[in-house]
Subunit: 244 residues, 4 copies
Amino acid sequence: MAITKALAIIAGVGPGTGAAVAKRFAQEYNVVLLARSTSSLDPVVQEIQSLGGNAFGIPTDISDAKSVDEAFKQIAAKYPGTAVSAAVFNASAGLIKKPFLELSAEEWNSTWTVNGTGAFLFSQAVLPLLVASKHLAHPPTLIFTGATAGIKAFPNSATFAAGNFAKRALSQSLAKEFGPQGIHVSYAVIDGVIDIPKTKAWLNDVPDAKISPDAIANAYWHIHTQPRTAFTWEIDIRPYVEKW
Amino acid sequence: MAITKALAIIAGVGPGTGAAVAKRFAQEYNVVLLARSTSSLDPVVQEIQSLGGNAFGIPTDISDAKSVDEAFKQIAAKYPGTAVSAAVFNASAGLIKKPFLELSAEEWNSTWTVNGTGAFLFSQAVLPLLVASKHLAHPPTLIFTGATAGIKAFPNSATFAAGNFAKRALSQSLAKEFGPQGIHVSYAVIDGVIDIPKTKAWLNDVPDAKISPDAIANAYWHIHTQPRTAFTWEIDIRPYVEKW
Amino acid sequence: MAITKALAIIAGVGPGTGAAVAKRFAQEYNVVLLARSTSSLDPVVQEIQSLGGNAFGIPTDISDAKSVDEAFKQIAAKYPGTAVSAAVFNASAGLIKKPFLELSAEEWNSTWTVNGTGAFLFSQAVLPLLVASKHLAHPPTLIFTGATAGIKAFPNSATFAAGNFAKRALSQSLAKEFGPQGIHVSYAVIDGVIDIPKTKAWLNDVPDAKISPDAIANAYWHIHTQPRTAFTWEIDIRPYVEKW
Amino acid sequence: MAITKALAIIAGVGPGTGAAVAKRFAQEYNVVLLARSTSSLDPVVQEIQSLGGNAFGIPTDISDAKSVDEAFKQIAAKYPGTAVSAAVFNASAGLIKKPFLELSAEEWNSTWTVNGTGAFLFSQAVLPLLVASKHLAHPPTLIFTGATAGIKAFPNSATFAAGNFAKRALSQSLAKEFGPQGIHVSYAVIDGVIDIPKTKAWLNDVPDAKISPDAIANAYWHIHTQPRTAFTWEIDIRPYVEKW
C-alpha cells in the first residue's frame, strides 16, 4: 500500500516565485497550485510532472470566496484525508504607481482585494487543514510572500503600501495565534526585482542584480524545515547590490 | 469686512479624541465635524459654540463615497472659498477580538472599511483643499489617529491589525508624496486606553493610567504648528505606566 | 521671598539645536549649559542673559566621569535645593564616513564615547535630580537628541551607526524604567540637515530644506509639557522635502 | 595533492549556539574556534574531531586587539593561503539586570566591550579574509548572533540594550557596505531562551519551549548557502510558544 505524500498548497503561481516554490516543494510533497488562469498553471504542472513530481492545478480567483471554497472542495475530493504540510500565499496585486489624487476607488481597493481579502480567504481555508495534519516531517507551515512595500510606504503608491502592510499584519497576527498550536507562519520581505521573464530587460548592467526565484524557494523550504523550537516569522531577501 | 477663519475638518467625532481635538482646533479655526450620528455630533457642536467657537456637524458615513462627497459639498456651500488649514482622520473601526477561524468575511473587512476605505475617501476629499489653501499661519496638516495595532499585530485580532497597518501605510505614503508640496501628514500611535466615558471603569488602580484626550489634542495642535522645516510624521503617545 | 525657578540642564550646546533648546527652555527655567568649550557656551549664555533669562555655562567633557561629576557639583552649589524640571542630552559625536576596514580603534570608539558613555554619565547624574523634583508644572523630562543613524545604519559609517543605535536603546530602556516613576524620557529622530552656521552653504536650491533649530526646540518644549497620561517616547523631525 | 578545505571562523564558542554552529559548519569546512578559555574550546574541538571534522581552538579575548591579532596570526600560520568561507560572531556579554542608577561605569561598558569592540575587532580581522577568498561554493558570509535586546530595549537593562543595538547597527552597516562586494552579512534575532546546560531547569512546563542550538546552526548554514542574488540580512528565530 502506497503511503500518500502530504500536500503543499500554493496560491499565486506564475512564472516566477510561485513556480519555483512549487517545484521545490514538489520534491517532497504533492503540490496543489492555485492561480487565476490555466495558462499560468499548465506550464508549471507539466514541468513538475516531467520531473517526476505530482502537481494539480486549480484555476482560482483567490479573492473570491466561492472560488476559493470550490478549489478547496476539489482538493478534498482529489486528496481525501491527506495531510497538508505547507501552504504558501504568493498572490500579489500589481503595483499602481500614480499620484494619490488620481486613484479611483477601484484602484484603491485593488491591493486589498488580493493581499487582504485573498490572504484572508486562503488562510481561513488552509489553516484548519494545517492544524489537523499530524505525523509530519516538519511543522505545518504557512508562508506569505511579502515585499518592501510591506514595511515601507513609498510616495505615489498608497494602494500598494496599504495592501502590503495589511498582509504583513495578518501574517504576524497569525504567527502569534497559531504558533502555540505548532503552526509555523512566516512573512518574507522580497526586497528587489525578481528574475522572471517580464523583468528580463531590467538591471542587466550588473550580474546577479535580480533575485533568483529558486533562491526564494530554497529559503521557503528552509523555513518549512525549522523545528518548532526555532520558528522564523520574518526574513528579508535582497540582491547583494540592492540599496536599502 | 470680516476675515474668515480657516477651517479644520475632523472625521470621527465621539466623546473622546475627536471631541477634544475639535475643541482645541476650534480655538483658532472654524471646525467641521463628521460623524455617523447627530447624537455624536450635537454635544460637541454645542460645547464648542458655548465656548464661543464655531462648529458645524455633518452626519457622514466616512466609508461611503456618496456620503463623503455630500459632506464636502455641504462644507463648500457653507464656507465658500475658505482655506482648510487642518484635517484629522480620527475614525476607527471597533476591535474584533476572536479566533481567526471564527471571523466572518464581513468582520474581516470591517476595519479596512473604516481605516482603509474611509481614510482613502477622506484623504481624497480633503487633500485638494489643503493643497489649495494659501496664506495660512501653519502648514496645511492632515493627521491620522493611529494605534498600537498599527505597528504591532496581536493574536486573535487579525482584522484590526490589518486595517490599522493599512492606515499607517497610507499616512506614510501621503507624507512622502505631499510633504514636498508643503502639506504636513502625520500618524499618531495612540498606545494605551483613552480616558472616555466608556472606559470610566477601567484602569483605576493607578492614577492617570489612561490617556487624556486633551493631551492628544495638544499634541496634534503642536504637530500642526510645526513649520515645514521640521515636520513630524510619527509620534507615539502612551501613559507613563504603560508596558511596551 | 523670591520663588526659585526650576532648572533645565542641557548637555551639548553649540550654535544649533543646543542653543535653540537653551533659549526656549530659558523662557521658563534657569538653564545650565554643558559643553566642552567656553567658546561654545559663552555666546549662548550671553544671548540668554540679554533676553532676560538666566543661564549658567559649565565647560564639561560629557564623556569623562570626573568632569561630569564636577559639573553637577557646581550645579548643586550654585542652585542648592533647586528642582530640575528638564534635561536634554544633545551631545553627539561627529560622523566618520570612511570604509570600515580603514577605521582605527579610536575612531570605532569615538561615537560610543559620546553617545554611549556620555549619555550614560549625564543620565546617571541628572535622573536622581529629576526623580527628586516635586511640585513642577510639567513632569520631569529627559530628552535625547537622536538621528536617522539611530534607526538606520548606512554603509561606510559603522561607528556612527553603532553609537547612535546605542543612544536610542538607552533612551528606550530609561523611558520604560523611569516612566512609571513619572519621569518622561524621549528620543527625537532628527532626520535631515540642521540649519546652523556650518551648513550655511548646503541645500540652498530649495527654500526651508534644512531643519530650523528653533522648531526642534519647540518640539522638545511640547514634549516637556505633555502630562504623564500622554508621554511621547519617539518623535521624528524632518524637512518637508526630505527623502525617507 | 589534497585540496584544502576552506575555513569557517567562529568567535564565541560555549556549549550552546557556538558549539552547534561549529559542528554544522565542520561538516563542510575546517573550523577555527575562538573563545576565552580552553575549557570552552576543548570539548567542542574534541567532539568535532571525533566526528571526523577538523577543528582548531584558539583561546582569545575577543575584545582585546592584541589577543585578536594574535589569534588571526595563528590562523594564518596554521592554514596558510586558505580561503575563509564563513565567519560567525557569536560572542555576547552577559545580561546585567538592575536599576539604571545602580550601574557602575564598568557595567555600563561591559556589553559594548564584547558586542561593540569585540564585534569590531573580529570584523576587521575577518572581513579582509572573506573579501580575498575566491572560488568558494557559497558567498563569503559573516553572521552576527543577535538578540531581542537588539531590537527592543527593556527596563533595568540599559547596558545590554545599548550593546545589542550597537551590534545590530554594525551588522547592518557592514551588510550594506560589503554586500556589493559579494560578502553576505547577516544578523539573527534570537528571541527566546536557548536550550543549553545552564538553562536546563527553565521553561520545562511546555515541550520544546527553548530554542534548539542545532536549529540555529541550520538557519545559519542556510543563510550561508544563499546565493548573492538572494541575501538575507535579518532573520528572527523563536520558539513556537514565545510571546512577542
